[in-house]
Amino acid sequence: MKLVDEFRGSRVVKDLIRAINESATGIYRFMEVCGGHTAAINRFGIKNLLGHNIELVSGPGCPVCVTGTGFIDKAVRLSGDEGNIVVTFGDLLRVPGSISSLEKEKASGADIRMVFSPLDALRIAAEERSRKVIFLGIGFETTAPGTAATVMEAEKSGINNFYVLVSHKFMPPAMEILIRDGTNVNGFICPGHVAAITGSSIFDFIPEQFSIGCAVSGFEPVDILMSVLMLVNQVNRKNPNTAIQYKRAVSREGNITAKKMMAQVFEPVDMYWRGFGIIQSGGMKLRGKYNRYNAELLLNETIKDDCNEGECRCGDILRGLIVPVQCPLFGSQCNPGNPSGACMVSAEGVCNAYFRYGRNE
């Protein structure tokens, strides 16, 4: 397939591994903060291709995982009203809330539908004008512009039974917290599809203020290995900077049209992240002009966003403090068929990736 196969070639992979292992003369610990990278690194066995002096550690890159239990509770509550249709990306269906999950509510008869795009939710709203259609808006800067475009489309076409329960998040504030809290990494594999929207420059503060290198990476094995080599070189040369490995998709300035739409519809707000608590300006909320699309207005009670996770160590895993096998529930009580926490549900969750691809640590 065009633009995929070229970045999976075995010869280039072998050359990259040799170059990395010859260049890596010190100790390196790089964190990826994108669930797509977490999935790809585990799926392609990339950790096993690198020397023991290069550790790849997963961070808070899975939007489903960092979303608090309270968000699920709100969605469950909204699905309980027969006048409502809750529309969601599939990842969220099986995430446990504090009392139920959307999957269980759907099995009990709630009208909960899975879609691939917020535009599908708007189409449902156009078809079901007598009901309230609530789209669950999760995701980072990659996904938020699409939700923004859909809200603007709803306004343009006068569809007033469309709502969004917004939990979109900004990635850089979480990375800054990890660094300030002393996470021991000397490089970040930065999320390529976040940067396709925002531009690579949103990561500049990391090398500039904290002297930690960044490589904005694509998602194929060659992309990830090339990013590792770029980070090894940055450490060796004591020259941390924001390098772009994924040049075919990412520029310094990003997608200006998408950024404008995101800024027109959303404004920053302090938001709860699993494992982090409230992050200042870590999330998005609808601006006043668009607040009539806010699904929170349909809730007649306050539901807290935070999590009571019991023994589940998802929060520590999302901060890179432990790996899944160090959680007492991993692989026994908690597995993809019966997940205890969000990190085991999503295909991009660290626990799910470890479970499926060999638990290689």
Partner: protein
């Protein structure tokens, strides 16, 4: 979640395009991108084209990587 795949734009009508992924055709919103024409490759994410892919940059990356076999060329990265 941020999963996006490279797709080829087949045709455009208003704010929407038909795009092809290995022969399977999808509809994609073009609201977030400008100046896209049939034949372009774009990243498809959650029903939207979120950016144009540069075939020139892809070729350049492959070209740089093709020189990795020569030990002196690591310094390019």
């Amino acid at each position: 979640m941020c999963l996006s795949i490279p797709v080829k734009v087949i045709s455009i009508e208003g704010d929407y395009a038909e795009v092809s992924v290995a022969g399977t055709v999808f509809k994609a919103g073009l609201q977030l991108v400008e100046g896209i024409v049939p034949g372009d490759y774009v990243l498809l994410h959650a029903g939207f084209a979120i950016g144009k892919l540069s075939l020139e940059e892809a070729a350049e990356t492959i070209e740089i990587l093709s020189r990795l076999g020569d030990a002196d060329q690591y310094s390019e990265l």
